[in-house]
């Protein structure tokens, strides 16, 4: 009877689904991938291993034991200390738009949860919120979560995804670099592990602060990681840069990243490392 029910189901749908609902095209190698397969593969291309950027909630699902995540500092939001406006209008409007679009109040979500049973403090940046830029709210949440880790004697994991400091909060954004690093200095003083996970992209003021001072540096395959932008460097040195410049793989070769870990293996790798650090 199964065939009978099935045909009834199809008949009940007003239209057959559009092809875009069934498959997507890999943004990198352009291969066609069934959407189910893409989701099941955690938005990683099976063929070229391109890792699509994830939302912070998707990251929680991928990394933490189901139902263990508790959000912290949820009330901390963006600020407009400079009353900044550019040619496209006030920053405040743009920030509100980004809040509505993402359901977030800042470019990072923070909290605590478990990785294969090991309790951790975690900060997850989300590129959708103003390019994951580092601003006052971001810095404050990262700092508060470090202090939480110290109070509860937990390891700290930060997933970076950011174009750098947010210009709209000017010097206040720049000061989030020393601010977050000062918090991590306290974490070090407390002898607690800090794992930095660099995802695409980790650049500018984020790479030049908390992302680069981890005990362990892990990157997702092919993530863009660097300080200055490619175009600025090419203009400065008047030379073309190699294709793989500032990729995660390039950074491993130059000694700044410990390992590249595929998204599907990240959780298990984290718990393995945390055990070496004495966490349980």
């Amino acid at each position: 009877m199964a065939w009978f029910h099935k045909s009834k189901e199809i008949a009940a749908k007003p239209e057959s689904p559009k092809k875009e609902d069934i498959w997507i095209q890999c943004p990198s190698c352009k291969a066609h991938i069934y959407k189910d397969e893409w989701e099941k593969n955690l938005k990683v291309c099976d063929r070229c291993h391109f890792h699509e950027r994830l939302t912070w909630k998707e990251r929680v699902d991928v990394l933490l034991d189901a139902g263990t995540f508790v959000e912290l500092n949820a009330k901390v939001s963006w600020n407009d200390p400079l009353k900044f406006s550019d040619s496209k209008g006030p920053y405040a409007e743009k920030a509100v738009e980004n809040c509505e679009k993402t359901g977030m109040k800042e470019s990072v979500a923070t909290g605590a949860g478990k990785i294969n049973g090991i309790k951790v403090a975690i900060a997850i940046m989300d590129f959708r919120f103003m390019g994951g830029s580092l601003a006052s709210g971001t810095g404050e949440k990262i700092l508060q979560t470090a202090l939480y880790a110290i109070r509860h004697k937990l390891p700290y994991i930060i997933l970076s995804a950011s174009g750098g400091a947010r210009m709209h909060e000017g010097i206040i954004s720049l000061m989030q670099m020393p601010k977050t690093c000062a918090a991590l200095a306290q974490l070090r003083e407390a002898n607690l592990p800090y794992i930095s996970i660099m995802t695409d992209p980790t650049t500018g003021g984020v790479s030049a602060s908390f992302a680069m001072v981890g005990d362990i540096h892990i990157a997702e395959p092919r993530s863009l990681i660097g300080f200055a932008g490619r175009r600025v460097i090419e203009e400065t040195i008047k030379q073309k840069l190699p294709e793989d410049f500032q990729t995660a793989e390039y950074l491993v070769d130059h000694g700044f990243v410990d390992m590249i870990v595929h998204r599907k293996d990240m959780k298990d790798m984290l718990s393995k490392i945390l055990k070496y650090a004495g966490c349980r």
């Binding site: 000017g170 010097i171 206040i172 720049l174 020393p178």
Partner: protein, 314 residues
């Protein structure tokens, strides 16, 4: 060299020159007339510098004759023993440092060097330090900690060098490491923004217990030109971006990013090195004396609180 907005002053100055050429040894009413010219010049300069826009301040901060770190060292210190190298890769001429004596204080001086003439500018990359510069700075800071002497940094950079080699040797890591280590450094740190405080390149030696700024210096997350080309999609809108970014000493004092402004003589530091040094020295000595009384433990905890409070609004 006079700046765009100093046209009126330049005009008076050329009149003075002309007058002096005509009257090599003025007497009587001619002296009076010359004095009147000089007064007029001083008033005009005062008027212009009292109303500098943020973008004009950028021009002053970047003035080719502005005092550079070597001027500050020779103007403030009775002794300077330069130290070289990061012990890892090389010696960055864009970041210099060494033991120095300011009155009765032995300190470690560290700072960006832009260079005076073209040869020197090229050697020190126009004050854009490389990873080895930041690592040299850190080595000297750790040395200062070991010897229990305060660190005084002079910040004057367009930004950290955006080059291929700098990236490959870990520009981001070098700056990040300094931020973390400076936060934990168990010796007093005074940072002085003397010219351009260019983003990560500036803060990489800028985590101070006290952060001072010369009155015509600027300090920003990005250059006004860079900001304009990204947010305005037009690099020529730099003046607007400079306004929006709040980069002047006055704004930064209001935002509690800096602790004190070191006033420059009328017409900017480049017009009067002697007065600039005298004022800078006075302010530095005041803070050196008071910071020396604070225990290392208290220093680091106060430093943490200071930076933790930046950008905390609720």
């Amino acid at each position: 060299m006079s700046l765009d907005f100093e046209k009126d002053v330049a005009e008076i100055e050329s009149r003075i020159e002309e007058f002096k050429a005509k009257n090599p040894e003025p007497t009587g009413t001619l002296v009076k007339e010359l004095n009147r010219f000089e007064m007029e010049r001083a008033d005009k300069l005062k008027e212009i510098y009292a109303n500098l826009t943020p973008w004009q301040t950028v021009q002053v901060a970047r003035h080719p004759e502005r005092p550079l770190i070597r001027d500050f060292i020779s103007g403030l210190c009775s002794e300077f023993i330069e130290l070289h190298g990061d012990r890892l890769f090389g010696d960055d001429r864009g970041m210099i440092g060494g033991f120095a004596t300011i009155e009765n204080h032995r300190v470690m001086v560290i700072g960006h060097q832009k260079g005076k003439d073209l040869d020197e500018k090229i050697k020190c990359n126009f004050g854009q330090a490389c990873p080895e510069g930041y690592r040299k700075a850190l080595r000297l800071m750790k040395l200062a900690e070991k010897f229990h002497i305060p660190v005084v940094t002079f910040i004057d950079t367009p930004g950290a060098f955006p080059g291929r080699d700098a990236e490959e040797r870990g520009q981001a890591e070098a700056i990040a490491r300094n931020l973390l280590e400076m936060a934990a450094l168990k010796t007093p740190v005074i940072a002085v923004v003397t010219g351009e405080g260019g983003s990560g390149g500036a803060i990489g030696i800028g985590v101070g217990d006290v952060v001072l700024m010369l009155s015509n210096a600027v300090y920003s997350v990005i250059s006004p030109e860079g900001c304009a080309s990204i947010l305005w999609r037009d690099g020529t809108k730099a003046a607007e971006a400079a306004n929006a970014l709040k980069i002047t000493a006055k704004s930064l004092l209001q935002l509690k990013i800096i602790d004190e402004i070191i006033p420059e003589p009328v017409g900017g530091a480049h017009r009067d090195f002697v007065t600039t040094m005298k004022t800078t020295k006075k302010v530095l000595l005041k803070h050196l004396t008071s910071l020396k009384k604070v225990s290392p433990r208290k220093l680091t905890s106060r430093r943490f609180d200071k930076f933790a409070a930046m950008g905390r609004f609720n």
